[in-house]
Amino acid sequence: MRMRRFALNVSWARGRAVPSGFDAVQAYRLMVRMRLAEEVLVRAWHDGLVPGEYHSGIGEEGINAGVLMHLSGHDTVALDHRNTAPLIGRGADPRLLMLEVLGSQEGINRGWAGHMHVLVPELHSGSDGIVGSSGPLAAGHAIANARLHPGRVSIAFHGEGAMNAGMLLESYNLAVAWNLPVVFVCKDNKWSITTYSTQVTGGDALDRARSFGLAVESAAGDRVEDVHAAAGRLIARARNGAGPGFLHVSCHRPGGHFEGDPIVRILRDPQGQAKELAPGLASGAMSPDGGTRRERVGALSELTARGARAARDWTVRRGMDPVQRGRRLIDVAKADQIEGVQAQAIQEAIDAARGSLGSRPTFGVHQGGPQ
């Protein structure tokens, strides 16, 4: 049984032609819309309206826009746990998406999905919370596209941490072996939750992807025009049946892994968090039985190094904001106008979503649903 009860606002995405050149205005519009949608959801999370975890894509707009601008509404997209922004980019109705994230039965998946499993057949876009699964799912989409709709391309978004997941690596191979029209897009923010990814990773991401026979490209994620160009080459190749590709893009996510990220909390409130963490660490480090002095010193210096690395990343990489950089590519008046239009649209959406959620002091209780 197929239920198609939601009138999705897909025209916004479907209307776009596949651009041959780079349209900076369109890129900026997309990025602003994605950023604003994330911002209101992050606010809603802190207001206690979003149940559970929330992984925002703030900082990844350059990647999302640069890739998605090449797609028609018929191409397929496999997303991971960080899917709100790309779904907005695909043209999902912001209100329905927000309602879903807010845990409403009026949401785009009627409250079944939450923010990790949003599945929108009309947009040929689906998300999944298992790290690495977007790869083989996109490969599957590509098999279907190649057979039923040649010329359609399939995209997988995944993080750099996911590149240690066997199923993703397997899917690189499968894509090459079956010459599938799929492009794997790695959004490399350097961190997988609280782990610095290179510390658990051998070799180099580009080499790894290339070794499976994928055509590879890379770009800096804060330069949407570069992402667009690199993605364009791979997507065009894949569409033409010339084989799958891998795009590596760097990015910085100031919000960290999810809202309330422990690393970000430490950075924002070192004193307060130290007070939380110190007693346990101290009692561990000074326990009468345990490792040698060298082992304990090693442990503490590792933890310190991790904190320092985060502090450095968050400082040095602060400027890597694709939206700010993208703004510079266009006329100021145009930028202002886009911001105004998008802000209004997103505000209306979140107002409507919050409004129809009814009074809801907290979540996790059955009174917490829409009234």
Partner: protein, 337 residues
């Protein structure tokens, strides 16, 4: 009606469906060779060899189903599905639900199942109980060629996620493929149930609704409830019991999910004694679920079960003693007295 082997019956139904529906494709390890007749008929785009990447090619099956195909993803043995288990546990069993019923996922996983041919404890599991645990999962295991054809056709038309399990002991092609017929020194005929391995199949195949059990034998003293090869072992046992004056009915569940509650309860009511014959682990879920159905229905039937209680050993005599053989079934019935 044509007489064919169990495996031929499955491919016969699959071929019929592929001819009728361009969306049906199949892949898995060595599938071009295993399904060479389908390859010759439908070409290499629809019949593919997969790398040894169960996780990816099972998930890709789900992805392809989302993209509009009806993939039949084949595994030599359900044991290997454990390597790609997340595609079932977190993927195929859930995406339709997560989408609030908006996205159909007509994926069929086709896999060999079970033992009796000395392949060791890691290549002979049933695992159907584990599979049936997941909401949104249909699990069928036909015990005859005719059922295999009819249930495969239903699986392909179900428009939902189905795990289609084929007992390897009934699969003449696989037994041969694994080396079987290349040595005349071995004779499995005492082990292979003739009516399961070969039989009449309708042409064209008619779908058999998944979720309806079949009564293989009538009997009023005890109901043997089983699925797959266990059905044939139960029939063997029923013969022995008949000689002792005990009338055993044999109910072939045909699918593990959904279960045919009504048929189970009817048999239990009629006989007052139920023995579940299950090639899965005793804690696997099927034998317990049938107990729950009996208790929930307020049925006062006496109950016993014959299932796999340890890791399955390799040595044939140990293996046979571990699987639900006819002697164990007979003993369980006698003990219920």
């Amino acid at each position: 009606m044509t007489v064919m082997r169990y495996d031929q019956a499955v491919d016969h139904a699959l071929g019929q469906a592929m001819a009728a529906d361009e969306r049906i494709v199949t892949w898995g390890e060595d599938v071009k060779l295993l399904r060479r007749d389908l390859l010759a008929r439908f070409g290499p785009d629809r019949v593919r060899d997969a790398p040894i990447s169960e996780a990816a090619f099972m998930y890709a099956g789900l992805g392809a189903a989302m993209g509009g195909l009806i993939p039949v993803v084949e595994l030599y043995m359900i044991d290997f599905a454990a390597v790609g288990w997340s595609a079932i546990a977190n993927g195929a069993s859930k995406f339709h639900d997560f989408s609030a019923g908006q996205w159909d996922t007509p994926l069929v996983i086709r896999a060999g199942v079970g033992g009796w041919y000395s392949d060791g404890g890691q290549h002979e599991q049933a695992l159907w109980g584990n599979l049936a645990a997941f909401p949104g999962t249909t699990v069928a295991c036909p015990s005859t060629p005719s059922d295999a054809a009819g249930l495969m056709l239903s699986a392909l038309q179900a428009n939902r996620f189905v795990v289609f399990l084929t007992p390897k002991l009934l699969d003449g092609q696989l037994l041969d493929y694994l080396g079987g017929e290349s040595r005349s020194t071995v004779d499995l005929s005492r082990l292979v149930p003739a009516e399961g391995a070969q039989g009449e199949v309708a042409d064209p195949v008619e779908p058999i609704p998944i979720g309806t059990a079949a009564l293989r034998r009538e009997g009023s003293d005890v109901a043997l409830v089983s699925v797959g090869v266990g059905v044939h072992r139960s029939l063997e046992a029923a013969d022995v019991l008949a000689a002792e004056g005990i009338g055993a009915s044999v109910l072939d569940l045909r699918s593990i999910a959904p279960l045919d509650r009504e048929a189970i309860i009817a048999q239990a009511d009629a006989a007052g004694r139920v023995v579940v014959v299950d090639e899965d682990y005793i804690r696997g879920g099927l034998s317990g679920e049938i107990a729950a159905i009996l208790l929930e229905s307020g049925n006062a039937a006496r109950y016993a079960r014959v299932a796999v209680e340890t890791t399955i050993p390799f040595a044939p005599h140990l293996e046979n003693a571990t699987l639900p053989n006819a002697e164990r079934i007979v003993a369980a019935v006698r003990a219920l007295e």
